[in-house]
Amino acid sequence: MISPWTTQILPPAVVLVSTLAAIVIFVAGEARQRLRIWVNLTAALLKLLLVVWIGLEVLAGTTFMFRFELLPGLELILHADALSILFASLSAVLWLVTTVYAIAYLEHSPNRARFFGFFSLCVSATMGIAMAGNLLTLFLFYELLTLTTWPLVVHNGTPEALAAGRSYLRYTLTGGVVLLTALVWLYGLAGNAVFTPGGFLAPLAAEHGGALTLIFVMLVAGFGVKAGLIPLHGWLPKAMVAPAPVSALLHAVAVVKAGAFGIIRTVEDVYGLELVAELGMRLPLITVASWTIVIGSLLALREHHLKRRLAYSTVSQVSYIVLGIAVGGLLATSGGMVHLVHQGLMKITLFFCAGIFGLLLGVKRIDQLDGLGRRMPWVSGAFTVAALGMIGLPPLVGFISKWYLASGALAAGMPLVLAVLITSALLNAAYFLPLVRRLWLNPPGTLVEAPIEIGRLPRLALMSSAVATAALVVVLGVLAAHPLSPLNWVVKIAQGYAP
């Protein structure tokens, strides 16, 4: 057993590791590249170790709780339950990979101290979101995430990037204001409550039903901005002007997942799905998620710019998570939550590959992908694996998510949701298979621009990041029934919510 002191100190430690790294990076300045690399990698590894440690302890039944009174009645609470660990470990793993990727990707670009500093702060914020023990804490880190990702989105400094950044702020800050209003209102009604599986608002339902409904809508809208629920998704495709590592993270973990995670917490730990259904909000939530899934895919089909197509695919896929949560029941809840991990792995792989194509060959558009399989077999292979996974082809991770979501939908008596999932799978095939065909089967086109030569080591780092995440897409799919797989972890969580 570990000491009570440790159980208090570990959650904030996970958050602060990256903050410390950020401070060192900012202080060291632009020139100290080697130091920066070491600090980055050490912090990422240390964080991963801490998360694994906490995860094992949570598995053994230890409770982690760190409370800090900001103002009387307003507490900052960091805790670690199984759901926190799910999100934290996903972030920690992908951050490590992305750090390696980003170091190689940005080897010759300016302002790297700024980039990596904010990059680390961004991790801190995400870890804070994962570990948050009440809505206030979640909100604080959520807003911190907005502020720390903005410099990353506008990193290139081009007018287009700045415009995307403005759009991003406009959407997320407005979302933040809505969220804050809902938060204040909720604190007025329910006081300072911690996240409780099954929610803590049920006793208030009789008296304040209308208010709770409105608050719920505001919370979902506030979080929905980052999760890219249509029509709140406008910023997401624009934000893909950011450098590839940032897009990869925005789409796979940090921002969109923070939104989805917020919705999970709201539904499961603040309201409880039963109360949501009682307030008549379950069906609207399912509807919003469903249309986002279908419309997002249709919009993706229309795009001819590689990263934009991937961005719309994110819009569509993240709503699988919301859909699973809203449908409820053991199967669908597991399917939704496990997609948090699975979509992250697949999408980060796709963006890594798109980034490599763009950086090394200047390939930005879909029609430029022709014949790249021969030129870059490993990267194209990773891309193919992730794309097939997105379609839900067995034995890849996307199939596992789809299997659980679909059977959950039918178990809950909602064949229409199954129809949505199937439509989405077909649309996914329609916008991903042509890319795969271009990579491998079309004759090579003329190169857009001369290939950029980078060193052997950075090249290796870029490729191995993409291949590593693609390998996870395969391994976690094939070994889905392994006791330590995300699937089994998530089933454990879902049992807590939907016995």
Binding site: T19, A22, I23, F26, E30, E69, L70, L71, P72, A113, R114, G117, F118, L121, L144, L147, T148, P151, V154, G157, L162, G165, R166, L169, R170, T174, P231, L232, G234, I295, L298, L299, L301, R302, P377, L393, P394, P395, F399, I400, W403, A406, S407, A409, L410, A411, L418, I422, A425, L426, L433, W440, L441, G477, V478, L479, A480, A481, H482, P483
Partner: protein
Amino acid sequence: MSALVINLLPVLTPLIVAALLAFRGRPRAFAISAAPWMPLLLALPLLMGSRAELTIVLLDLRLGADAVAAPLSVLCAVAWGLAGWFAANRVEKDRILFWSGWLVSLAGISLALLAQDIAGFYSGYAMLSLASWLLIIHARTDEAWRAGRIYLVLALAGEMAAFAGLIAIVAAVGNIALGELATAVQLEPAWRWLILAGFAVKMGVVPLHVWLPLAHPVAPIPASAILSGVIVKAGLLGWLRLVPPGSEGAAAIGPILLVLGIVTAFAGVLIGLTQQRVKVVLAYSTISQMGLVLMAYAALLMAPDRAAVLLPWLGVMALHHGLNKASLFLACGCAPGRSRLRGLLVALPALAISAAPLTTGMLAKTGLKTALAEAGVAHGWTLALSLTSTATALLLWHFWRLVRSDSGYKTAHPAWVAMVLAGLVVPWIWVLVHGLDPHLLSGLWPATWPLALAAAIVVASVWLKRGLAPRWRPGLPAGDLVVWLEGAARLAGKGLTRLARAGAAPLPNLYPVHVRMTRTLLWMERKITALPVAGFLILGLGGLLWLVTRVS
């Protein structure tokens, strides 16, 4: 442990060999030389008959060869293996593409054959579906792309239909063993129909047959051979696995399938007679034969308590058609009109498929008739069955007239000869091993007169110097229905594009911001982007917050 290895080898080895194709030089050369042998691995689980459970793989994967998988495993090992031998010498263009499609398809069908749980079966089936697309588009001509596109659309749609149905099972009882399926779950009829329709795409049941006549002529010859001989039977496997005889309410759909089967059997021949390309004619013949298999399956559904006898008979039908049809496809690449001997090598499987006396085709017909009798179907059906033999004989005569003049490759490949011999022998061995009664004597006359009738028609038509195919050609394009469907799809696509374009109009700006606010933002932006100090700013803010809380 050994059971595990035995059952995993046929699935994993082809995948590993396919992965070796990626490495230039020695690994690739090794992979290409090893690839044709891979189907033989299926003999291992078949002979050992052991079962294995991999609790950590997929959703608790269970493997093992059972009575349903056995005939198809034999078929797969023999036909796929011999076709692989043929391919090893004859496929010269884009060998990596060809062999990767070949090996992944093989791994897929092996998994589908051996899997004993729903998720495992579906995984193998989906792998097979996608990978066989690579075989179809191998030539990468416009025609091949079109065939591939139509195949893929149908295959994906079929797979999704089947997926919906099997998910309905999973939602009720989880990922259970396939053997328990018949008794474990009561399914709404709609789901069962989705499953049946989904797998019917692979089988080529009319009207879901349209991909076959397009895919077969464009694929390389050995690929057509396994497509027509083996892969179509994966659909049968899907039916037997997911709507097993004895399922609640399945007997009621038997008669409908019976009608669908006979329609498919005749429609295949009739449309096939209008075709002028060798492999298209063979494709339609396959469609017609699958109609017969569908009838046998329907009879099995109607008499589930006789499954112990009927299942081996179904196996005979699968083996008979698979091996003989594969022989006919291989013949297309061996200039069969060049010598008498080669003519004989075409005639043997052709006669077998037309169910001539003492051939394996007679065995298959006997099996089917036994099945129908067990199902208590009226005598009129037997007459219809005999007439399908006449029709098939006419179709294959038409095939012979076309293939005779073919002179692509001058040499005959030994794999072709071996396949013909296998077609002659293997179904007989199967019958003997399973102790089935072949009704040799009583079957002779029913097998003879339909062929005599066909011969009479042929002779009459030659005598009338009209040729067999009618002068009035209906002018049906290969793939018949699909041409209209394509037109419809094109229209729908246009509509969809228009819709998407309408949706593409920029969404109204949801957060109109006052001009001054924008200006302030711009100013802040300039300041902040200039400084890496911005990081400190945020940290400082945090510190300030902390101080404030301490003071209060």
